[in-house]
């Protein structure tokens, strides 16, 4: 009879660890590592599909050359995506931190408010967001409502932009914030997950910190900047990364890359574009995380 080998708990744990992660490992090899390698190969080749699969022909840097110097749309939509991201991400971070602070306070109807604010997490994504972007009737309704207001209240005559410009604020700042007001729906709807993360973070701060600061005479404003904000810096990092990745998940560039592959059936060019896109995202992530992580404060 075979003697049953006795394994130490540590050893057992590490074996089971590999076992537990094995679905992921299989998935990673099958659906991530292999496709990544293939897509690099595609980006340097011309791909033709036939009945038995596909064949590749090496073409060197031609696809990249085409993406950047021949194609008229790629550079443009790439710059557009990056500018949009640069404009929106700081606003999303600021807005979600602010909203999370509001939501963490105790007030009547808190549950209702929370569930409304997290509604975009479950709804404003994918195809619905796309359809809403070009919603003709809804914008018409909005205009009709504005007309009514203009006629009956006289409140809408107040125009903020010239007012602020007259007050001597810098043009770029004024237009940035005016633009933010125009994009408010987009910002609110893409902040859901970030608000959740900040809210969970704020609630994990020990209340004794606030009590102590209150005893010392700190105002709410001061305790926000001296306690909440520093404690939130690690999450600001997380959220920045998430927002950047999220903003690059689906936009004109990705649609264009997909079109190139499946409408024009040019898999090589599409792979080259997506690699250029990936490298660009990585550079942006690298720069932003190094900048932010210098200012991050860790409590322990």
């Amino acid at each position: 009879m075979a003697k049953k080998r006795l394994l130490s708990l540590e050893r057992k744990k590490s074996i089971f660890g590999v076992l537990f992660i094995s679905p992921w490992i299989i998935g990673f090899l099958l659906l991530m590592a292999v496709p990544l390698y293939q897509s690099i190969r595609f980006s340097f080749s011309e791909l033709t599909i036939n009945a038995t699969g596909y064949s590749l022909e090496y073409v060197g840097w031609a696809n990249f050359n085409k993406a950047f110097f021949v194609d008229t749309w790629f550079n443009r939509s790439l710059t557009e995506a990056v500018t949009k991201m640069l404009l929106n991400v700081p606003l999303i971070i600021f807005f979600s931190l602010f909203t999370a602070t509001l939501l963490s306070q105790k007030f009547r109807g808190r549950m209702l408010t929370r569930s409304i604010i997290f509604l975009p997490v479950v709804m404003a994504s994918g195809v619905i967001a796309g359809l809403d972007g070009s919603n003709y009737l809804a914008s018409m309704m909005g205009e009709a409502a504005n007309d009514m207001e203009g006629n009956y209240t006289g409140l809408s005559g107040f125009d903020l932009i010239p007012f602020l410009l007259d007050a001597g604020m810098s043009r770029s700042v004024v237009f940035y914030f005016a633009g933010a007001v125009d994009r408010i729906y987009q910002i609110v709807t893409s902040s859901g997950v970030q608000i959740l993360i900040f809210l969970a973070g704020i609630q994990s701060i020990s209340p004794s910190l606030y009590e102590a600061s209150k005893m010392e005479g700190a105002t709410g404003y001061e305790s926000f900047w001296k306690i909440t904000f520093p404690m939130m810096t690690p999450l600001i990092l997380t959220n920045t990364v998430y927002s950047i990745v999220d903003s690059f998940y689906k936009n004109n560039v990705t649609n264009y890359i997909k079109d190139i592959a499946f409408r024009q059936l040019n898999f090589g060019l599409s792979s080259a574009m997506s690699w250029a896109y990936f490298v660009l995202i990585s550079i942006i992530l690298l720069i932003s995380t190094t900048i932010i992580s210098k200012r991050v404060f860790y409590y322990d």
């Binding site: 897509s39 009945a51 408010t113 709804m123 796309g130 990705t254 997909k258 499946f262 898999f267 792979s271």
Partner: protein, 326 residues
């Protein structure tokens, strides 16, 4: 009483001071002002979110005659259900909802299983190099799906694990497109949509559970499997609910992967995606097309809206306790 007069001023001041310190009018005003400002802001934010849904609701019951009537803003004068019937017909609604439900529920279940296993593995069952492997998990979050889109597509077009199928049958692989398999395979191997994020959520959650729970189970003679299924998983229900809801809903709304893998199937997001061009082909009238698109969108989000209505209390509370925090 005469002796008290010189003191009257002082005693009045004392009374005022006492009144001030017991009633704190400045603090109270500040408090009330803050409550007003806060309610104002929160109401504004909620309104921004609710507004599009309200407009859709209003539009859905409007007759075509009402569209250009500028005296009608919210409540339609010619109340009609025609839009809804038409949208149901155009979307192939009931079949689409059933298919989407199977797809979303299937991926949600598989993703919860595979990500919970991986998350627990990373949190508690450390092995050599597990931190490097976890770095790879984070890497999968960052990598855009477009980068591996073309190879993955071809992969499922000619599906064949390590050439085994080809070896035995001589065929170039199975075509898995237009079926649920691409989604189910990638979910079961924790490589589906945003699975890196789910693994991260589970890992954080399991790390937050007290170690004593497991140790007690080990002392009582349970193995690793038993302690995982009997002790850890029942405690992880909030995390599982969160991940299940996220994955269900994001799969429901996703049009990127559904259009990629199931380009000709009857799924909601895909039907919605082609609806505008289909409608314009039937009738070249922009306002009518928009009317039906609004109604169709409302119909498409109605099931998840209902789901959220029932789940939201649980969801919001559990997310806060999930410990998304690092």
């Amino acid at each position: 009483m005469k002796a008290a007069t010189p003191n009257r001023g002082a005693s009045a001041a004392a009374t005022v001071r006492e009144w001030n310190s017991s009633y704190r009018p400045v603090d109270k005003v500040k408090n009330v002002l803050w409550i007003i400002v806060r309610s104002f802001l929160l109401f504004g934010i909620c309104f921004i979110i609710i507004y599009p849904i309200l407009t859709k609701l209003s539009i859905a019951f409007k007759d075509r005659a009402d569209i250009f009537d500028s005296t009608i803003v919210w409540i339609p004068r010619h109340f009609t259900m025609d839009n809804i019937y038409k949208a149901i017909e155009l979307l192939d609604y009931f079949e689409a909802v059933t298919n989407t439900f199977i797809l979303s529920a299937g991926t949600a279940v598989l993703q919860v299983i595979s990500c919970a296993l991986a998350g627990y593995g990373f949190a508690r069952l450390k092995f050599k190099g597990s931190s490097i492997v976890f770095a790879l998990v984070v890497f999968t979050i960052v990598i855009p799906p477009q980068t591996i889109m073309a190879p993955t597509y071809l992969h499922f077009r000619f599906f064949d694990v390590f050439g085994l199928y080809g070896l035995f049958t001589g065929k170039p692989g199975v075509n898995l497109l237009e079926s649920y398999w691409p989604f189910f395979i990638s979910s079961a191997t924790a490589m589906g949509m945003k699975n890196g994020l789910y693994i991260y959520i589970f890992r954080q959650f399991f790390r937050g559970l007290p170690k004593e729970l497991e140790e007690a189970a080990y002392v009582d003679g349970a193995g690793i499997m038993k302690s995982f299924f009997k002790v850890m998983l029942p405690n992880a229900i909030p995390a599982m609910a969160t991940v299940a809801l996220f994955s269900f809903v994001w799969q429901w709304n996703d049009d990127y992967f559904t259009n990629l893998y199931m380009a000709n199937s009857v799924v909601l997001s895909k039907m919605l995606y082609i609806l505008p061009s289909n409608l314009l082909a039937i009738r070249d009238e922009y306002s009518y097309v928009s009317l039906l698109i609004n109604t169709a969108t409302l119909l498409a989000i109605a099931p998840i809206f209902l789901l959220y209505l029932f789940a939201q209390r649980y969801f919001v509370e559990s997310v806060e306790r999930t410990g998304l925090v690092g």
